[in-house]
Structures are given as structure tokens and as C-alpha cells.
Symmetry: C2
Subunit: 348 residues, 2 copies
């Protein structure tokens, strides 16, 4: 197994380190040959090469069997709207060049952490849904985009083809078939032409999945219902920008934001990453929570290598660390807490 | 005072009726001459005239001193992506033709209702922020939009001019000066050209309001923080689509979604409406909660006629109805409840 490591910025390198320890331990236990190749991305890559996703990084990622990715983002670029190169461009280029069109973001709860949710217990206990966010289309990549000559007007373009919608929607339908058989198509079909194509395409596909119940909801309604009654959802499919907003909203309801993993899937390459950001304030302090990245490694064993036992073992050991309170400060509830690296060692 | 009444669809007519009772009572008590003119909009207007915002309606609204608006939307149009005329087009046309560029949506809590919030008490108690959502620009009106010839590709355009951003942002700055002096500019400047123009424009205006602290946050981060720690916010400004999603998300956190009013302001016309939708399942049953519409009438006295005492009296009587439990079923908590029309009579 050739794994590309793209730690990125902020706490990325620290949390990736812990995932690597765990992956190595799994390799030893199960007798897998695992090799790692590291490459820069994001602000780290700009600093090193001037580009946020250099060709050398792309070659390593494209040649790998799976990519483990940390986080991207550096505040020094955020408040400079005129910066020519931004770390996030690296993330977007990476998604586009690797063809990672589906971002799979589960939201589930850990019994020992559910009390940390901002929501009341009865709303959040047992929540279990998964978003399929389209990741290589929409307003993120649509052309034209930019300014008029005087710079007084700016524009972006949102574009979707039936093909792009279909391949993402099929993933959602298939996932729903293996789960509770409810698919929610999230759009803004009362306003946007792209959304109407989404809805139309999903309506055309639905008869092929007669066992799946399909619901259509507007993005603003979903933003409400995710908080009011998140248990109502099973599988949700949506376009890139709506997915960006809603998956982040969803990530805080479980009370375990620092723990949620994600997968970005394409036709060949598969990438795994924690959903949290680069958390620059914590960078280098050995205090970041590595569990989301470790669970992303578990997703990697399952989705990239079809190794369920390995994935399950990682999941189990994460649960054990939670049960025994061998955790980082952010989830220690004032009890004893451990460093990022200590948690990684313990898990490994 | 010439007030245009646009009840719209679903529960719109019922809740507008109650607001009218209250406005009339205020008129009597304070000796104001108030006249009402009613007009159709939305599905009701399509049924009556074939158009969702007919000229006859526009004339009445444009000639008024203030518009009281109910709700728009009928499910018979929702799942028909090919429908040529949709009720929502009436809403959008109305906003555009009346030049209502700023949608003002406060979120605050009622002590007697805060326990109904899906959020834990410590997160939501005392929440008090207000969104200024841009309402006549962005992807809602941008051109080109539509399909390619074969219908296999759809596109929307998001456009903003510096001018549009400036007039909305100034309203936000001024509101912040009268409140807790914190302004949050919500954008997606790490991806969208329009967002970068938003951020740049707000940065340029900031020095004119030295007493206001300005923060810039990405829309996905705000979607999270609105749930995690809503008390952090004071005044938020944002573009049309982000505002649509976030104000709806915000509306459920207070526990009093059915109670939140809003104002849509332009250079001349001012419109007031509850933020809830047309709630078609409840239409005609005399069970809808009229308080958001009644509180919108309070906002009308304040924003359109600068009559603070009248506004305060309406607010007070609403609070009294809550304290005495003279409320509709949705907020009665299993206790005695009253019909929409009974609550209206009581308030009047
Ligand atoms: C950093 C940013 C460009 C990115 C996105 O908007 O996709 C992030 O928010 C995410 O969701 O991975
Ligand atoms: C009905 C719809 C077009 C409208 C919008 O998206 O603006 C509604 O959601 C709102 O927020 O008033």
C-alpha cells in the first residue's frame, strides 16, 4: 500500500503524525507492507515552492493508493483579498486534478461525547447521517469569475452538468440502499437553474432505486431541520457550496467536531481527511485532537483497501481511548488530558 | 398611513388578519388614520391573474407607506422543476421592483420560550443578534442563468457591485453603532470573487466607523458558530444566498421561530413580514401562530413611521400573551391553547 501523506498547514502535520503511527501499527499487526511518501500542500507548499499544489505533490498523490491529508489554511492569507496565491487554491486544485468529485461526510455520535453537543440530548442522541457533497463542480470552479475592468463589480459562475450530478447522486442512492433507505436532495430549486437541474436529474434516477425514498428540500430548510431534528436524515446529497456550509453546520451538532473523519472519492484516487480545519492557534503546541485524522485512516482501510477488520480495530481503539479518558484537552472535560503525541502513541 | 396588505399564500391571509386587528387597535388608541389596501401575490396571484406579482399589486405596494406581507409558496409548484411560473418569482420580483435591498432579521429570545430551543439553555439564553441580508442582488438575479441548448448543463451567475455592497454594509455599520458595536462580515472570500469584493469593500468602509469592531468570517464557519456560541454575534452582514441559509438557521435557535419578524428596506419602500413560510399544512385551520406577523407590524411602526411608543406597546402585549399563556397550539406546551383568530382578538 502506497500512501501519500499531505499534512498541509497548522495542526495538519501533528495530527497526520498520529495517524501514521496507527497505520504502521495496523500494518505490523496484519502483515501489510505500507510505504509512505510525504508532500507539501497549502501554505506550507507556497512557502516551499511558491505554489499551493505543486506538480511534485500531484505526482506523489496521483501515484498513490490512498492519500492521507491534514488541513489547509493560514490566517496570514485570509484578510488579504488581493493575495495572488492562496493556500486554499491548493486544496481546490488537488480536488480537481485528482478528480475527487464526492466528499463523504458522516455525522454520528459517540456516547461518551454526546453531552458536549450544543443541542439538547433528545435531539442529538443517535443521530446518524451522511452527506455526499459534490466537490469538483459548482461555483468553486465555474467560469467566468472575476472582476470588471474597473474592479467595481465581481462575479462568479455556478455550473453543473447532468453527468456531474448523476455520478454524485448514484453514490448517494447506493449508500442509502445500504442504510436506512432515505435520500434527501438538498437544493434551491425555487431560485437557481443549477438546482432545478439537480432536482430533475435526481427525479429521473429515482425509479432505478425503488427501495429508496427520495425527499427534496431547500437548502435553507435543511439548515433549520439539521438543528431541529437531525435524526430525520439518513443520506443527503448536495452541490459543492451548499455542502460546504451544511456539512460544517452538521459537524458541530454531534458534540464531537474534532472527531469526524471524511473521505473524498473519485474514479481512481481516494483521499481521507479530518473535517476540522488547520486550527492555526494550536499549531506546534502538541494539543490538537488527532482522532478525526485517525478515524480518517480507518475510513481509508475500508474505502480504499476494502479492509473492514483493520478499519474496525482503529475505530474500536478510538472508542476505547474515549471510554478510558485517554484524550486531548479539548474533550477532557477538565479531567486529566494528554498531548497529541501521547494519544497517538497510546492508540498505536 | 397607507398600508398595503399582501397576504400571499398558505397561512399568510390568516396571520395578516391578526396583524390588521392589532394595527387598527393601535390606530384607534393613538388617533392615527390608517387605511389598508389588499393585493394578491404568489400562488394566490397566479391563480387569480396568471402572474405571481401582477402590476396591479405592484402599484398598490409602490404607492403605500408600508407593506405588510404574509408568506409565499405552494407545494404544488415545488416538485415541478419545469413549471414556467412559480410563486417565489413573485417574491423575487416584488423585492426587485420595490428595491428592497436589505432584509433585516433579528434573532432574540423570549424568556418564556427559550426552553423550546433545540440548543442548551446556556448557549441560547440572552442571544441577541441581527442579520442584514442583501436582498436584491447575487445569484438570485444574476445573468446569465439557464441551460445549454440540449438542457444537459445548467448555470447561475452571482454578481455584486461595490455599490450594492456598500449600501448594505453601511446599514450594518450603523446598526452596530447603536448596538454592541461588533460587525461580522460573512463571506466565502477563500473561494468566490464576489466574496472578495465584499471583504474588500467592507475593509475600505471600516475606518469611517472607528467605534465598530469588524470581523470577517467564512460562511461555513458562521454556520457552525451560530450553533456553538450564538451570543458571540451582534450584527452580521452578508450576501443574498448566504443570508437565506444563515438567517433560516438562526431562526430556529431562539426556540421562537414562529415569532421572529423581519423588515425589508429599500430607498423608499419598506416591507414587513414574518420570517416563517406559508406553512401550507396549516392553512385555513385557524391554528397558525400570528405573533411573528404582529411583531412585524411593530417593526413597521418603528422603521416606517418612527413611532416607537406604538411599536413598544405591540411588543409588550405580545409578551403579555406569552406570559399569560394566551397562545396558539405550537407554543402552548400541552397547556390550553387558542385559535389564530382568538389570539388576534386578544392582542387587539
Ligand atoms: C478551505 C475551503 C476552500 C474548503 C471549501 O470550501 O471547500 C473548506 O471549507 C472545506 O470544506 O474543505
Ligand atoms: C421563497 C424563497 C425564494 C425565499 C428566498 O430564498 O429568498 C425565502 O427562502 C426567503 O428567505 O424569503
Amino acid at each position: 500500500m502506497n500512501i501519500a501523506l499531505l499534512p498541509g498547514d497548522g495542526i495538519g502535520p501533528e495530527v497526520i503524525d498520529q495517524a501514521v503511527k496507527v497505520v504502521k501499527a495496523i500494518g505490523q499487526k496484519f502483515g501489510h507492507q505500507i510505504s509512505f511518501k510525504e508532500a507539501v500542500v497549502g501554505a506550507a507548499a507556497i512557502d516551499a515552492t511558491g505554489l499551493p499544489y505543486p506538480d511534485s505533490t500531484h505526482e506523489i498523490a496521483a501515484a498513490s493508493d490512498a492519500v492521507l491529508f491534514g488541513a489547509i489554511g493560514d490566517p496570514k492569507y485570509d484578510n488579504d483579498p488581493k493575495a495572488k496565491v492562496r493556500p486554499e487554491q491548493g486544496l481546490l486544485l488537488m480536488r480537481q486534478k485528482l478528480g475527487l468529485f464526492a466528499n463523504v461526510r458522516p455525522t454520528f455520535t459517540f456516547p461518551s461525547l454526546v453531552h458536549k453537543s450544543p443541542l439538547k440530548l433528545d435531539r442529538v442522541e443517535g443521530v446518524d447521517f451522511v452527506f455526499f457533497r459534490e466537490l469538483t463542480g459548482g461555483v468553486y470552479f465555474g467560469e467566468p469569475r472575476g472582476r470588471n475592468e474597473q474592479g467595481t463589480k465581481a462575479f462568479d459562475t455556478n455550473v453543473y452538468s447532468k453527468e456531474e450530478i448523476t455520478r454524485l447522486a448514484r453514490m448517494g442512492f447506493e449508500a442509502a440502499q445500504k442504510r436506512r433507505k432515505l435520500l434527501t436532495c438538498v437544493d434551491k430549486a425555487n431560485v437557481m437553474a443549477t438546482s432545478r437541474l439537480w432536482r430533475e436529474t435526481v427525479q429521473e434516477l429515482a425509479p432505478e432505486y425503488p427501495d429508496v425514498k427520495v425527499e427534496y428540500e431547500f437548502v435553507d430548510a435543511v439548515a433549520m431541520r439539521l438543528i431541529q431534528w437531525p435524526k430525520a436524515y439518513d443520506v443527503l446529497i448536495t452541490e459543492n457550496l451548499f455542502g460546504d456550509i451544511l456539512t460544517d453546520e452538521a459537524s458541530v451538532i454531534s458534540g464531537s467536531m474534532g472527531l469526524m473523519p471524511s473521505a473524498s472519492l473519485g474514479t481512481s484516487i481516494k483521499l481521507f481527511e479530518p473535517i476540522h480545519g488547520s486550527y492555526p492557534q494550536a499549531a506546534g503546541k502538541d494539543i490538537a485532537n488527532p482522532l478525526a485524522t485517525v478515524l480518517s485512516a480507518a475510513m481509508m482501510f475500508e474505502y480504499a483497501f476494502d479492509l473492514k477488520e483493520e478499519a474496525q480495530l482503529i475505530s474500536d481503539v478510538v472508542n476505547q481511548s474515549l471510554a478510558e479518558g485517554y484524550v486531548t484537552e479539548d474533550i477532557a472535560d477538565g479531567g486529566p488530558s494528554y498531548k497529541t503525541s501521547q494519544v497517538g502513541d497510546w492508540l498505536a
